[in-house]
Assembly symmetry: C2
DNA sequence: AAAATTGCCTAAAACGTTTTCGAAAAATTC
DNA sequence: GAATTTTTCGAAAACGTTTTAGGCAATTTT
């Protein structure tokens, strides 16, 4: 069912028009040294004149390369992931790659589907971050064993060998943030986060605990919330109810996400507290709207755009130079930075 | 340079193992009625056993279909576009398509590049929204004339024939929003927006004006701001300075975007005004974080997700059924809804 | 002047499918 | 049991490239 309807011109048409062979035309187009400059000129002029555009599909089939990078993120509607994608895209373009973004819609099943879709020689490599439901990794192992370069970022797993990891030090960052809150004389600090299924959240909580231990301060279990809801509205109710039932309100909250920080602030205000006067709040992620929020949000700044850039650089070097990090060195840890704005002042 | 390294198995391997022809195996895999059920079973069992996965590239080359939809948006970091993409993706999956999202990074040059990349038989159709710098449309005309189905959404142009348009009635929506503000007894209303280059902004301003005319109310030219900046920070300064210099503060502002609404509120609060007590604010877009904002933002709700869904439905029907809207009927106008939350109470 | 080298080009195979055309086998009809 | 129809399968062309292997002419080396 090859629709002869669109009159796309092919190498063969150029060859005929120029009285050359297809091979020569192909080589001329791709600037091979094996064709004489004058001929190249002729070919290129004719290609321009006839409006020739190479058929990428045929190219891919023949060369085995697609110049496409597959990206799998847990969801589209989290600005962090979009920022990472922007970073990936930025580097991809630089090296003449395009990216295909797939969302797992927070489901292990869809994530697996996405990896299968990417296996089929449609992409040259894959950059991905796991959903927090992902506990087995055979789908990734399969990609790797088929020779597809893979780079993992953000929510990764150390169980996977043969893929590079690009992460931040969640533990250390959370430690620093909490340490700062403690040093600024907040005697009791709460922690608000999401599902305990997500390993990054656990690491952040570990950092939170460690900061308390090292400063000889104790936190109250009653001040810890791990939301179970998924939707914004429900999460807000959960946070609100939690805060509402507290007998004693902490001086500050460390939230594992800017989103939770915003919900927390909103609930605090509803409950009649002033932020930061009565309660201070520290977020995590430093999304671009953190600074638009009123009051402006203090946050652990995660280099999301840069994280995408680094992931893409590594992936492309894997693809092109067949260059693999040796074992143990395949982990890149990106620095974070605490940005103090109004909510902790 | 076909790397024999990955042992992907092909139809030929299946055929050999089953002592059948490639043709039969191909047909069995794709459930053609021309092969006996029993043979199908055998083929499918063997395919499963040997881990066969069809090569999509070869499939595309042969069939002339890629099952990929190209999406071009002005920028990644605007939640509205991401929402639209989610909608597109939702429908695309339903019909077994994948989407490739490209950002024009707010540049006409990149937009054109993106359309060229999509022309090359890599996609079956294109869904796009223009940057506000886009004034000529030959790149789109070229796609259409090559037989590539195109659907335009949001920021479109009526100059383009042969592409469907999916839009909201910016004029009417802005009219309704302003009308409501007037009816609720706001005697003077300001308007805060972005560059006048963007036609949707102009239409929204027209609606704003019309509501005044019909209600016999006048607005003050001094209360109109069209920001020229691009970056958040600068825009905020611009809004702040504008408000700061106002001799007389209006009772309410209609903002052409939720983003502007947030900046406006932030500036108002900084200047010591209470929202909504002193000044009311109405946004446009109803992004998912409008409700997380404190105070919660009133906004014209734009069905962004749905807009994506509709665009995808139209595109796919164009692709599959060769079904084209007849002239004049190729425009779908989606309804908006005013969501009153705290900032106008 | 013969031999070797270089520069420029071509024919044809290969990539892995789909699909057309047709043939053989099986089932049905007379 | 022959003729017809239906079912089932196979050979080969096609999709548009890249690349291998090689050929011919011009140039350089012996």
């Amino acid at each position: 069912m090859n629709s002869k309807v669109n009159p796309n011109i092919r190498l063969e048409d150029l060859a005929r028009a120029l009285k050359l062979s297809i091979a020569t035309v192909s080589r001329a187009i791709s600037d091979s040294p094996r064709v004489k400059p004058e001929t190249k000129k002729r070919v290129k002029a004719m290609a321009e004149k006839m409006g020739y555009r190479p058929n990428q599909i045929a190219k891919s089939l023949s060369s085995g390369k697609t110049n496409v990078i597959g990206v799998i993120i847990p969801r589209y509607d989290e600005p962090f992931f979009i920022e990472v994608c922007r970073g990936i895209d930025h580097i991809a373009r630089k090296y003449n790659y395009r990216i295909v973004i797939s969302s797992s819609r927070n489901s292990y099943k869809f994530e697996k589907e996405n990896t299968f879709a990417f296996e089929k020689g449609v992409v040259d490599g894959v950059i991905m971050s796991f959903t927090h439901h992902t506990k087995t990794f055979t789908h990734v192992d399969e990609m790797i064993s088929r020779g597809l370069p893979v780079v993992l970022f953000d929510n990764v797993s150390s169980k996977i060998k043969g893929a590079a990891h690009v992460i931040i030090d969640d533990y250390e960052s959370a430690f620093q943030a909490t340490d700062l809150l403690i040093k600024e004389n907040n005697k009791s600090i709460g922690y608000i986060s999401g599902t305990v299924m997500k390993t990054v959240f656990n690491k952040r909580f570990d950092g939170f605990k460690e900061a308390h231990i090292r400063n000889n301060q104790v936190y109250d279990e009653k001040h810890i919330l791990n939301c179970k809801s998924i939707h914004q509205e429900h999460e807000y109710r959960e946070v609100y109810n939690f805060l509402n039932k507290l007998e004693h309100m902490p001086n500050a909250f460390f939230c594992s996400t800017d989103n939770y920080a915003m919900l927390t602030i909103k609930a605090l205000i509803k409950l009649g507290y002033k932020v930061p006067r009565d309660v201070k709040v520290m977020g995590f992620g430093n999304l671009h709207y953190s600074s638009m929020f009123t009051p402006e949000l203090s946050s652990v700044s995660q280099p999301s755009f840069y994280m995408g850039e680094v992931s893409a650089e590594i992936l492309i070097s894997k693809i092109e130079k067949d260059y693999y990090f040796e074992d143990g060195k395949d982990e890149v840890i990106l620095p974070t930075k605490i940005v103090q704005r109004e909510t902790t002042r």
